[in-house]
């Protein structure tokens, strides 16, 4: 029972991170119908910027953790957001309106480019980060095993929850969110009615990148190591989460992220850690067979 609870906590933490990344995929897919393959790399860049900023702050002497965390979050979100904007501008905007596979290939190229760019700029070695936020709350004390909820896990979950709430508000009640939903439904019509579609799409990419940056900061703190290759698998799983929840749907991405995190944590705990990725994909396939649009996706009615 204690073991189960601990895995539940770990899974939820992991799931929160996946959910943050998955939102970036699902929003971009919803608005322009493409898989932003470079999104995992954007997350990796966010994590790298976090590690670098933490190191600089440590040298400068800002060691009060709340302040350091705030500065790192802001720096990482800003610069990663700019990366998201640039990627859209260079690799996707010129391809808008061409056939479906073109942006995907361009995105794969961008992903390879970014991965190697970071590898060249920062080296291929794993970058360690000193653990900063230690300690936690002991929830339950068993005979052999006690359940702890670390402060970091609390921060990650609270942060994700806050961002999700803020984000849902942004989508449902602000002019930007309205413009986004309009573009999602019919881009031409939205443009005719005065929505600046180019700007809306750019902002969508920036928002996705900002959320991925938060995920990157959290992961660099949580695992304490970052390397240039983390983006691929995390991106793949986050995209799986988006598909699982129903791509294009925000609550779906959140639900999918949490589910993927839980599946991964429980599978590693009870079965085998080597095959946790296999489990994730197998469950994705099974869900898609029975619910082809994902858990919360709307069925798409095709008209002739």
């Amino acid at each position: 029972m204690e073991y189960f609870l601990q895995q539940l906590i770990n899974g939820l933490t992991l799931g929160a991170v996946y959910a943050l990344i998955a939102i970036g995929y699902t929003m971009v897919y919803g608005i322009i119908g493409m898989i932003n393959f470079a999104h995992g790399e954007i997350y990796m860049i966010g994590a790298f910027i976090a590690v670098i900023t933490f190191s600089i702050l440590g040298i400068v002497g800002i060691t009060w953790i709340p302040l350091a965390l705030l500065i790192v979050l802001i720096v990482s979100m800003l610069i990663t957001g700019l990366y998201g904007w640039t990627v859209e501008r260079i690799a996707y905007r010129p391809l808008r309106g061409s056939f479906r596979l073109a942006p995907l290939i361009s995105a794969i190229g961008m992903s390879i480019f970014l991965q190697n760019y970071v590898q060249i700029a920062q080296g291929a070695k794993i970058k360690p980060l000193q653990p900063m936020i230690r300690g936690g709350v002991e929830l339950m004390k068993g005979e052999t095993f006690s359940v702890t909820l670390s402060y970091l896990q609390i921060i990650i979950m609270m942060m994700t929850l806050l961002l999700m709430l803020g984000f849902s508000y942004l989508i449902s009640a602000t002019p930007l969110g309205r413009a986004q939903r309009a573009c999602e439904q019919d881009r031409t019509m939205a443009a005719l009615l005065g929505v600046n579609t180019d700007r809306t799409i750019s902002l969508t990419f920036v928002l996705g990148a900002v959320l991925a940056a938060v995920a990157g900061v959290m992961v660099s703190l949580y695992y304490g190591v970052v390397d240039f290759y983390i983006g691929f698998l995390a991106g793949l799983k986050a995209f799986t989460a988006a598909v699982l929840g129903g791509i294009g749907s925000l609550p779906g991405a959140m639900l999918g992220g949490l589910l993927i995190g839980l599946i991964e944590a429980f599978w590693s705990a009870y079965f085998s850690i080597e095959y946790k990725d296999v489990a994730v994909f197998v469950i994705l396939v099974v869900v898609l067979i029975f619910r082809p649009t994902g858990l919360l996706g709307r069925p798409e009615v095709e008209k002739v």
Binding site: I35, I45, F48, I49, V51, I52, S55, I56, I59, V75, I79, L82, T86, I90, A91, P94, L95, S98, F99, R100, L101, A102, P103, L104, I105, S106, I108, G109, I112, F113, Q115, N116, Y117, V118, I120, A121, Q122, G123, K127, P128, Q130, L236, F239, T240, V243, I247, E274, Y275, D277, V278, V280, F281, L284, V285, L288, I289, P292, E300, E302, V304
Partner: protein, 434 residues
Amino acid sequence: MAVAERLRDAFLAALVAAVLALPLIGFETIDTGGPLGIKTRFDYIAYSAIAVFFGRLGMRIAFDWRRRSREKSMQDEAATADRKELLSDLGRKADKWLMPALIAFAVILPMMPFASRTVVDLATVVLIYVMLGWGLNIVVGLAGLLDLGYVAFYAVGAYTYALLSMHFGFGFWSSLPLAGLLAATFGVILGFPVLRLRGDYLAIVTLGFGEIIRVILLNWQSVTGGPAGISGIQRPSFFGFPFSADPPEGTTAFHQLFDLEFASIHRIIFLYYVILALALVTNIFTMRIRKLPVGRAWEALREDEIACTALGINPTNTKLTAFAIGAMFGGFAGSFFATRQGFISPESFSFIESAVILAIVVLGGMGSQAGIVLAAAFLTLLPEVAREFALFRMLAFGAAMVLIMVWRPQGLLAHREPTMRLHPAGAKAGKGAP
């Protein structure tokens, strides 16, 4: 655009580049054992900003120039029409004339004076990718199914041959059909549940399938050897006559059979011809099957699934055949890869391979057989040419993929038109109706 405006635009681009470069290029993290040390290299930021400034400026000027020349030619209505005709003709002609030329070149290549060991080896690698490209083209180009895990079938073929020859003493030729069959079976197993999904779901599921195969290869130590892979795979023989300086008792070596001096290049040339033959079989098969009912059903399905269903084509079965046949050619190529390398490990079958193969198909201009050859040659030779800048070659590769797509989204030799049409292409009657 005015000069000042252009300068401002370039300056903004440079500014963005400087901000982007600030954390990742401006600071270098150094391992000190404890917390990471930081070294600054702000000069690099300046270099990249300057490079972006002039790059952007040059690009804008080139664009303006191209637009102006295009506007000029637009005024001449007839010239435009002629040009369009010429371009669409080019695609059609490319498959007609380019292919025989390429094949002829491929056949005589090993006899050319410049054909050193390296050249033939490189040509073999190009041909492997050509074959994989043609195999995937059946799935992506003809049937319009986005498959991001094609490398899984390549891996299945490679491991099938490696295991069969290790444990059961199969030769290359006898295990080739088995490898193809097994890969096709995997294609059916994967395809059956997922082919009902829409395009992008299919993409992610195939991607996941590729990862599953790789993870299994990595972890099923007792069979696949795990990350160490399988080494000492039986090298190919010339239909039973081995390529070795001193063949085992009772067998005749290739050089003895033809009364030649022993040379290690014989095997390389033989391998080259094997893959050339395999690739040509793939090509001929594709060209022929496009004209059969099933091939026409693929192309029809790619264009409009609903119409196909209405006409009584079973979409799942049709897609499944495309998937299985594509997988089969991937399996053949995998077997060849295993016998050529003599060593395989899961590292050779990572996602990046799938991405490269898909890039070959798309860059070639989906559906164009000759375009795939050009794209495969380009994408395999580019990293070789850039080998001196080993560090930067994958960087250049990624950038090239983006740039080519932005420059020619329709692929190098675009010609996506049905193989069969009511009115022959070029005839006046067929012109109005696309």
